[in-house]
C-alpha cells in the first residue's frame, strides 16, 4: 500500500539541530512514493498569462470525473516557471516525465485517461524535433533543456514553491545546515571568495570581496550590519529574478541567511518590485514556513544564531535597482541615488555597513556552500565562474528562461537552445543587459557570454535579459525606446542624466524622421561619452551603451536614416509607406473597413489603394489582410 503523503499536511516540525534537517529530509522522501502519478502544471508568469490556472482546474475536474482522484495525492501540483514560456501552458506527467506544451483545458481528460491512468504518451501535445518533426517525450530529449545546465533553476518547475517540505526534499537549506554545523562565519566568507562568484545584478562585482569589505567596515564601525536582497528587477525583458523568487523562494532565503551568518547580521531586507505580486506572496509564505521550522528567527537550527528578514515592496521606480537609491527607498524616501565616495558596504542602509546582492546572486550562495567554492569555481570560465540565468526573448522561437555555464557562445544560446529566429533566418542582433547594455550583431555570434567578453564587445552582462532582433527591428528605434525609458526613469538629480538623455533622445527622434546628418551622429557619440563620464549613478552612466554599440555595429543603418531618409527595417513611421500589391489584393475590403482614418479606397473585388498622405501608419490594414497583399515600402 502506498504510504501517506508527507506534504503539505505534515505538522510543523521545529528543527533543533543542524542534523535534524537531514533526518527530516529523509523522512519526507521515505513518505513519498516515487511511482505516484503526478500532474505538474507550470504556473510561471508566461503560463499563468496564457491560461494555466484554467488548465489546472480542468485537470482537477478530469480527475474527479474519472474517479481516480482518491488515489492521487496531491494530484495536481503547480510550480514556478518551467522555462519554455512561449509554448505554455506547460504540463508534465510524473513519473514518466512526459512533457506537454500548449495544453488547453479540453486536453485534460485525454491526458488523465492516457498518461495518468495508462502511462501512455499523448504525442500530439509533445514538443517536436525541429528537424524530423518527431515527438520528444521528456525534458531530457528536448534540446531547449538538454543543452542547459540548470543549477540555480534546479528546483524551479519541480517543487511547489508554497510548500517548504517539497523544497527540503530537493535539498533546500542543506547548505545552511552544513555551514551552521561545521563552519565558522569566516570559513563561509572564504568559501564564497574561493568560488569566484560575481554579482548577478549587472556590474559583476566579486561577491566574496564585497563581503570581505563589509567585514572590514564592521571592524571599524561595529554592528549592526544589514543584508539586503535586490529584487527590484526593472530591466524590461528580464524576468529571471522574478521567476526565482516565485519558483524557489527558499533558495534566495537560504542564501540570505547564510550571508547573515557570515557577516553577523540580525536583520535582512528583501526589496521586491511591486509588479511581482506572486513573488512577494511566495517569499512571505516561505519566510513564515522557515520560521516555523526554525530556519529563520530566533535560535536557528538550535545553534543560537538569530536572524530575521522583512519584505519591502517597490513602488515602481527603475532607479531603485541602484544600491544607494534602494536604501533610501527602504528608509521610506524618494529613491534618489547618492555619490559613492563612501561605498555602501561601509555606509549603506541607515548609514550602517550593508551587503546588497541581487536575487540570483543570493540564490547561488547555497550552491557554493553546499558543494564547495572549489566545485563552483570549476564551472564556467576563469574570471566568470558558475552559471548564468538568461531571459531569452524577442524574435526567437523558444522564448523563456535559460541557464548555461558562463562563457557559453551567444549563438549556442540563441540558435541551439532558443531555436533561432522563426523562419530559420539568422538573427540580426542580440541586445544584452537591457537599457544599460549593448547590441551585438550576428557577426559576433561566437562571443562567449561572460562578464569580461561582453564588456569587451561594448555590451554588458546586465541582469541577463537577452533580446533577439530580426531584420524587421530597427536599431534607431531600439535606441529611442531605451532612451525614452531611461529619460522617464531618471531621478533628475544630476544634470548629465537629466538633460543628456533628453537631448540624446531628441537627436534620435530626428533620425527617425529622416532628419540630421553624419555630423549629428558624431555629436550624439560625444554627448554619449560625456554622459558616461559625468552621470552620478549607473543609470545615467550606462544609458548610452545601446546607442554607442548600435552606432559601432550598425552605422550603415543610421546613415540610411539620415542620408537616404529610409528605415531599412521598415519601423520608423515617418520613413515608411504602406502600399497594396494589386496582384495579391482581392478587393475584399477588410482593410478599408478597419482603417481608423478611412484612407483605403477601392471598388469591391478590385485592388484597393492607400492614400499615403492620410495614412497614420498604424499597421491595422496589414494586420487585417488575409492575403498578405499589404507591404511596407
Amino acid at each position: 500500500m502506498r504510504k501517506e503523503s508527507a506534504a503539505p499536511a505534515m505538522a510543523p516540525f521545529r528543527l533543533n539541530a543542524p542534523g535534524d534537517l537531514e533526518t527530516l529530509r529523509n523522512k519526507i522522501i521515505e513518505s513519498r512514493d516515487p511511482n505516484r502519478p503526478e500532474i505538474v502544471v507550470c504556473h510561471g508568469n508566461g503560463c499563468l498569462a496564457s491560461g494555466a490556472p484554467k488548465v489546472a482546474e480542468a485537470f482537477k475536474a478530469a480527475l474527479a470525473e474519472t474517479g481516480i482522484n482518491a488515489k492521487l495525492m496531491p494530484g495536481v501540483k503547480t510550480t514556478g516557471c518551467q522555462g519554455l514560456c512561449s509554448k505554455g501552458p506547460l504540463v508534465q506527467i510524473r513519473p514518466q516525465g512526459y512533457f506537454y506544451e500548449r495544453v488547453q483545458p479540453k486536453d485534460a481528460l485525454e491526458i488523465v485517461e492516457k498518461s495518468v491512468m495508462a502511462g501512455e504518451p499523448v504525442e500530439r501535445l509533445m514538443h517536436k524535433d525541429p528537424e524530423t518533426g518527431k515527438p520528444l517525450y521528456t525534458e531530457e530529449e528536448i534540446p531547449f533543456y538538454s543543452l542547459q545546465e540548470r543549477l540555480v533553476l534546479r528546483r524551479i518547475g519541480k517543487i511547489d514553491p508554497t510548500d517548504i517540505s517539497d523544497a527540503i526534499a530537493e535539498g533546500a537549506y542543506a547548505g545552511l545546515a552544513k555551514a551552521l554545523h561545521s563552519m565558522t562565519p569566516e570559513e563561509v566568507v572564504r568559501e564564497v571568495e574561493k568560488s569566484g562568484l560575481r554579482g548577478r545584478g549587472g556590474a559583476g562585482f566579486p561577491t566574496g570581496r564585497k563581503w570581505r569589505s563589509a567585514l572590514s567596515a564592521i571592524e571599524k564601525k561595529g554592528r549592526p550590519v544589514y543584508v539586503v536582497v535586490n529584487g527590484d528587477e526593472g530591466d524590461p525583458g528580464a524576468f529571471m529574478d522574478g521567476a526565482i523568487m516565485e519558483g524557489d523562494p527558499h533558495s534566495v532565503l537560504e542564501g540570505l541567511i547564510l550571508g547573515a551568518y557570515a557577516l553577523g547580521a540580525e536583520q535582512g531586507y528583501l526589496y521586491v518590485r511591486a509588479e511581482y505580486p506572486v513573488a512577494i506572496r511566495h517569499l512571505e509564505m516561505a519566510m513564515a514556513q522557515a520560521r516555523e521550522y526554525g530556519l529563520l528567527g530566533e535560535n536557528i537550527l538550535g545553534t543560537g544564531f538569530k536572524f530575521d528578514a522583512r519584505i519591502n515592496r517597490g513602488a515602481g521606480a527603475f532607479v531603485c535597482g541602484e544600491s544607494t537609491a534602494l536604501f533610501t527607498s527602504i528608509e521610506g524616501k524618494p529613491g534618489n541615488p547618492r555619490p559613492k565616495y563612501v561605498r555602501s558596504v561601509e555606509e549603506g542602509l541607515w548609514g550602517r555597513p550593508t551587503v546588497l546582492n541581487n536575487v540570483e546572486t543570493w540564490a547561488n550562495i547555497p550552491l557554493v556552500l553546499g558543494r564547495g567554492g572549489q566545485w563552483y569555481a570549476s564551472l564556467g570560465v576563469p574570471h566568470s565562474t558558475g552559471t548564468k540565468v538568461f531571459c531569452l526573448v524577442g524574435k526567437v522561437d523558444n522564448v523563456g528562461l535559460v541557464e548555461v555555464p558562463m562563457g557559453t557562445p551567444m549563438d549556442r544560446i540563441v540558435t541551439d537552445i532558443g531555436g533561432g529566429v522563426s523562419g530559420g533566418k539568422p538573427f540580426k542582433a542580440v541586445q544584452t543587459g537591457g537599457p544599460s547594455g549593448g547590441c551585438l550583431p550576428y557577426s559576433l555570434k561566437d562571443t562567449p557570454v561572460d562578464f569580461d567578453s561582453l564588456t569587451k564587445a561594448g555590451s554588458m552582462m546586465g541582469s541577463g535579459a537577452m533580446i533577439v532582433m530580426d531584420e524587421h527591428d530597427c536599431v534607431v528605434d531600439l535606441g529611442r525606446y531605451f532612451l525614452k525609458f531611461l529619460e522617464e526613469e531618471s531621478c533628475g538629480k544630476c544634470l548629465p542624466c537629466r538633460l543628456g538623455l533628453t537631448r540624446m533622445r531628441e537627436i534620435l527622434d530626428g533620425f527617425s524622421r529622416g532628419e540630421g546628418s553624419e555630423a549629428d551622429i558624431a555629436d550624439l557619440t560625444s554627448l554619449a561619452e560625456a554622459l558616461k563620464d559625468g552621470a552620478l549613478c549607473a543609470l545615467g552612466g550606462s544609458a548610452p551603451n545601446p546607442v554607442l554599440t548600435t552606432i559601432r555595429y550598425f552605422r550603415d543603418e543610421y546613415l540610411a536614416h539620415v542620408s537616404d531618409h529610409k528605415c531599412p527595417a521598415g519601423v520608423c513611421k515617418h520613413l515608411i509607406v504602406y502600399a497594396i500589391d494589386p496582384e495579391k489584393c482581392t478587393g475584399c475590403g477588410a482593410c478599408a473597413k478597419n482603417c481608423p482614418v478611412e484612407c483605403v479606397t477601392g471598388e469591391k473585388k478590385e485592388p484597393h489603394v492607400i492614400d499615403a498622405a492620410a495614412c497614420l501608419r498604424c499597421g491595422i490594414c496589414k494586420e487585417t489582410c488575409k492575403f498578405d497583399a499589404i507591404f511596407i515600402e
Partner: protein
C-alpha cells in the same frame, strides 16, 4: 469623504508603527484599497508617521505606482517592455489613445477608462501583452483590442440596463 472610507483609512493607519520608514508601506496599502491617494488620506499618513506633507507628496509623485486622482472604472495597461515594444506595443498604445480619446496615463472624462503603460510584466513569451481589469491578453493586436472593448461596452450596457430595471 464618507464615514466608511475614513474608517478604512484608520484601519490601514493602524497596521504599521508610526515611523517615517513606514510611509511607503502606508501609501501602498491606501493605493491598493482606494486606487489612489486622496488628500485626506495623505494628511492622515503624515500625522501618523511624522513626515511633512511636502515629503509625502514628493514620495507619492516620485514612484510610478502612486496616483493622486481616482482611477476609471476599467483599467487598461499596455506592457512596453522590450519584447512587447519590438512586437508592436507602442502601436497598441496609440490605437487605444485614439479609440478612448485619452493620452497614456490619463482617465477618460466619463471616468470609464484609465489607460496606462507598464515597463515589463515579465510575460515576454506572449508579447505584446495588454492587461484589462487585471486580466492578461496575450499576443494582442489592434483588432483583438477592438473586440475586447466592444465586449466590455456591451457588458457595461447590459449591467446598466439591469440596474435600470431593478
Amino acid at each position: 469623504m464618507s464615514v466608511c472610507a475614513t474608517a478604512e483609512i484608520e484601519d490601514i493607519i493602524d497596521r504599521y508603527p508610526g515611523r517615517p520608514e513606514y510611509l511607503i508601506f502606508l501609501l501602498q496599502d491606501i493605493q491598493s484599497s482606494f486606487g489612489y491617494i486622496s488628500q485626506e488620506s495623505m494628511r492622515r499618513v503624515c500625522d501618523r508617521t511624522g513626515v511633512p506633507l511636502t515629503r509625502a507628496y514628493s514620495v507619492a509623485t516620485f514612484y510610478q505606482s502612486f496616483r493622486l486622482d481616482p482611477k476609471g472604472e476599467h483599467e487598461i495597461k499596455v506592457c512596453l517592455g522590450t519584447a512587447c515594444h519590438l512586437k508592436g506595443g507602442q502601436r497598441l498604445v496609440e490605437d487605444l489613445e485614439r479609440r478612448l480619446g485619452v493620452a497614456a496615463g490619463e482617465t477618460s472624462g466619463d471616468m470609464r477608462f484609465t489607460l496606462d503603460t507598464v515597463n515589463c510584466l515579465g510575460a515576454c513569451a506572449i508579447s505584446p501583452v495588454v492587461v484589462m481589469d487585471e486580466e492578461y491578453y496575450p499576443n494582442m493586436t489592434a483588432r483583438k483590442l477592438e473586440k475586447q472593448l466592444k465586449a466590455l461596452n456591451a457588458a457595461d450596457a447590459a449591467q446598466a440596463k439591469e440596474a435600470g430595471n431593478a
